[in-house]
Symmetry: C2
C-alpha cells in the first residue's frame, strides 16, 4: 500500500463524520449509499453492497460480494455480510427518514429497499453527497497530483509518434497504451445517466466540429452510431488541428487535460483562438480562490470570447454548444462545482476543476486548452503539469 | 456505411413493431425508453433523449442532443427536438399506462417524468425489453461474427508477445492496443448497477483466484481498491496459469472470450481442469438449440465438474462462486438468457451466450475456456473462431 493510499484510508472515519453532520443538519436519520463510487468514498472499498450511515451511531457496510475483500480494504469497524431482510428492518428501525442518492439509484433498487423497509420515508440526498465530495482533502489532492504527472507525461510524448497519415484511432491507441502501462485504471466514471466516454478524444480537422450526445464542447465522430464520441478512422492531414483531450484514473481519482497538435502549420484564425483560450485560462486561474463565484468565471470567459470576435465558436456551435467552461472532477468526471450560469455558490478551498476554454469552427476544427486545477488561496494549482499552447510537429 | 450497418438500420421498424406487440400483450399503452442502449436498439441512434413508442401509432424520438446527428443516424420518421413539458403531456395524453425500464432508469429521472405527466401510471417493462433483445436477427449475428473474428485474431496474437517477467498490466496493454487499432469502440456496457469492467482480465497464478465485486467466476486483483478487477502489477512467472478474458465492442455489439496461456509447463491438476472445461463446452455446444433449458445446461456443467472431482473449484470458490456457466451477450454483457438455476424458459434461435466453464484454485490460479455462441437449430455457432485449449509459450 502506498503512502497516499494509506493517507486516503485514514480519512474515511472523518468523511463518515462529515456525512453525519450533513444528515443531522438536513433532518435526515441516516444515509443508505448504494452507488459504488459513494461506497468507495465513504468506506474505502467498492465491493458490492450498501453502506448505512445513521445520523447518530456506527456505520455498517453490508457486503454482498466480496465480504473478504471489503473487510481487507475498508478501515470501518462495521463491515458485515449482507443480512436477511428482517435484520435490515431492525438495523434501521429507529430511523424513519432515510437519505438515498436519487440521481444514481435505479428505480428497481429503491423499490427493493422500499419493500424491505416499509413505513420509512426515502428522501434525495444527491446534492448533499456531491457537495461533500467537491472539497478534496490534502491526501486526495496528493493522489491527483500523482495522477496528473502521469497523464501529462503521456500527453507530452505525443509529438514523438504523431504523424500525418495516421488515423485518429491510431493516435488514440498510442495514447491509451501508454496510459495503461502507467497504471490507468479505466474509463472515467460519470454520474449523469447515459454519459459514456472510453478514455478520451482524438479529433482532427472538420471531425473536431462534429456535435453529439456527449456533454462537452468537443465530441468527435466516434467509430459508429453505437459509440458516437471520440476518435474515428479519419486520417490526419498536414495542417489539421488535432485536439487531444484525455482522462486518466489513478487510485480512484480522475485527471482531465487537452492540448492541440498540428503537423506543419495551423491556419491563422484557429491559432489565434488557441491564444484566446490561453488568455482566458490565464485570467481565470488566479481567480480559482475561495469566494469567487463559478457563474461569474463563466461570464468572464464568455465575455473574453465575445471581445475576441469568437462568440459564435465558444464551447461549441449553435444550440449544441456547452454552457460551461469548466467542471468539477475527482472520483467522477462530472462533479461540482461547474463553471456555468446558475452556479452561484462561491468556490471553496480544495475544490478541483477541469478548466477547458475551447472553440469549435464548423468544417474546420476544434481548438483550446484544458488542465485540471485545485482551488487554493493562492489561485489555481495546476495538477496536469505540461506546457500549454499549440504543439507543432514537423512534417 | 457498411452493409452490416445498413442491414441493422433496416431492422429498426420491425423492432418497433415487435415492441408494440409486446406492449399490447401486456396491456401497456406505450413505452418510454430512456436508456442509451434501449434507444440505440429501437431507433438506430444513442444521442440523448427519450424514445416514445405507443402501443398503437407512430414512435417519436425526442432528442436533447444532438438533434442533427440523431436525425442523420435514425431511420425513424418521428425524430424531433425534445419538446416543452406541456407538449409531452399532449403527446402521451391517450396513454394512461406507460412502460419504463425500472432496472436502468434513475429515481430522479422517473420523478421528472412523473412530474411532467401527472395522472399516468408507470410500470416496469425491463423484463420484456431484455426478452426482445435476447433474440438476435441475422444482421445482428453478422455484426457479431465480424466482431468475433477481430477479437479472436487479437487473442491469437498473444503468444507473439507474452513472456515471463511482464506484468499482467503489460499484457493487458498489448491486448488493448491491438483491439483498439482493430476498431474496439470501448468498454462493455453492463446493465446491472455497479458492474464495471474496463475491457477485460489478465490474471496470473494466485492472483487469478482473487475474489471480488465483479459478477463472474474470475475477477483479478486490479490496480487498487478503487478499481478492484482485472490486471494488476503482478509479474508473470514460468508455470503460472495466465487467464486472458476479453470483451470487445464493434458496431455496438459485444463479444467475449477467454483462453489460458502458460510460459513453460502448467501443473497437472490445472491442466486437467482445462480439459474438463473443454469437455463441458463440447457437451453443451450441441445443446445450444431452441428448446433446451438454460437451467438444465447449468446443471449438466455442474454435474460434470463434480464427477471430475472439481466441484469445490467450479466457477469460483466458496460463497463467492458464480452460480452460472454462461450469460447472454449482445449490446450489453449481461443479457438474457443466463445458463443458471432458475432460468427455465427454453432457448430460442438467435440467442447468443458466452459459455465460460472455469475453475478457480485458491493460491494457484484460474483456468477454463470461454467463447461466444449463437443458438441455432444445428447447435451453437462459434462466433469467436480460435483454437480452444491451453496455449503453451516457450520459456
Amino acid at each position: 500500500m502506498t503512502d497516499v493510499t494509506e493517507g486516503l484510508r485514514r480519512e474515511i472515519p472523518a468523511r463518515i463524520e462529515r456525512l453525519k453532520a450533513v444528515l443531522r443538519a438536513s433532518g435526515i436519520d441516516g444515509a443508505l449509499l448504494l452507488h459504488a463510487v459513494d461506497l468507495l468514498y465513504h468506506s474505502g472499498t467498492r465491493q458490492n453492497g450498501a453502506l448505512w450511515v445513521p445520523a447518530s451511531g456506527e456505520a455498517a457496510l453490508l457486503v454482498r460480494k466480496s465480504f473478504q475483500r471489503a473487510r481487507a480494504e475498508s478501515p470501518l469497524a462495521g463491515v458485515r455480510p449482507f443480512p436477511p431482510g428482517r435484520e435490515l428492518s431492525s438495523l434501521l428501525s429507529r430511523c424513519p427518514r432515510i437519505g438515498v442518492c436519487f440521481d444514481v439509484t435505479r428505480v428497481s433498487q429503491l423499490d427493493w429497499w422500499r419493500k424491505h423497509l416499509p413505513g420509512h420515508e426515502f428522501v434525495d440526498i444527491s446534492a448533499q453527497l456531491r457537495g461533500l465530495r467537491s472539497r478534496k482533502s490534502p491526501a486526495e489532492l496528493e493522489q491527483m497530483r500523482l495522477g496528473g504527472r502521469k497523464l501529462a507525461a503521456v500527453i507530452g510524448e505525443i509529438p514523438s509518434f504523431l504523424r500525418a497519415g495516421m488515423r485518429e484511432l491510431d493516435i488514440a491507441a498510442e495514447i491509451e497504451v501508454r496510459l495503461r502501462r502507467a497504471g490507468n485504471e479505466g474509463s472515467p466514471r460519470l454520474r449523469s445517466p447515459n454519459l459514456e466516454l472510453f478514455t478520451g478524444l482524438v479529433v482532427s480537422g472538420e471531425a473536431g466540429a462534429e456535435t453529439g450526445a456527449f456533454d462537452g464542447p468537443v465530441v468527435g465522430r466516434g467509430l459508429s452510431a453505437a459509440q458516437p464520441v471520440g476518435p474515428s478512422e479519419r486520417v490526419i492531414r498536414t495542417g489539421d488541428a488535432v485536439l487531444v483531450d484525455y482522462t486518466a484514473l489513478f487510485g480512484g481519482y480522475l485527471l482531465d487535460m487537452a492540448r492541440v497538435f498540428v503537423v506543419g502549420t495551423l491556419e491563422a484564425e484557429l491559432t489565434r483562438a488557441i491564444e484566446v483560450s490561453l488568455a482566458i485560462q490565464e485570467e481565470i486561474v488566479p481567480r480559482l480562490v475561495p469566494g469567487e463565484v463559478p457563474a461569474e468565471l463563466y461570464d468572464l470567459a464568455a465575455d473574453r470570447a465575445e471581445a475576441a470576435g469568437l462568440a459564435p465558436y465558444f464551447m461549441g456551435v449553435g444550440d449544441d454548444a456547452s454552457r460551461f467552461v469548466g467542471h468539477g472532477i475527482g472520483m467522477e468526471l462530472d462533479e461540482f462545482p461547474v463553471l456555468a450560469p446558475g452556479f452561484d455558490e462561491p468556490l471553496e478551498e480544495g475544490q478541483v476543476v477541469a478548466l477547458e476554454p475551447k472553440f469549435v469552427f464548423p468544417g474546420r476544427g476544434a481548438v483550446g486548452v484544458e488542465n485540471t486545477w485545485a482551488v487554493t488561496r493562492a489561485g489555481g494549482e495546476k495538477l496536469t503539469p505540461l506546457a500549454d499552447g499549440l504543439v507543432r510537429v514537423p512534417t
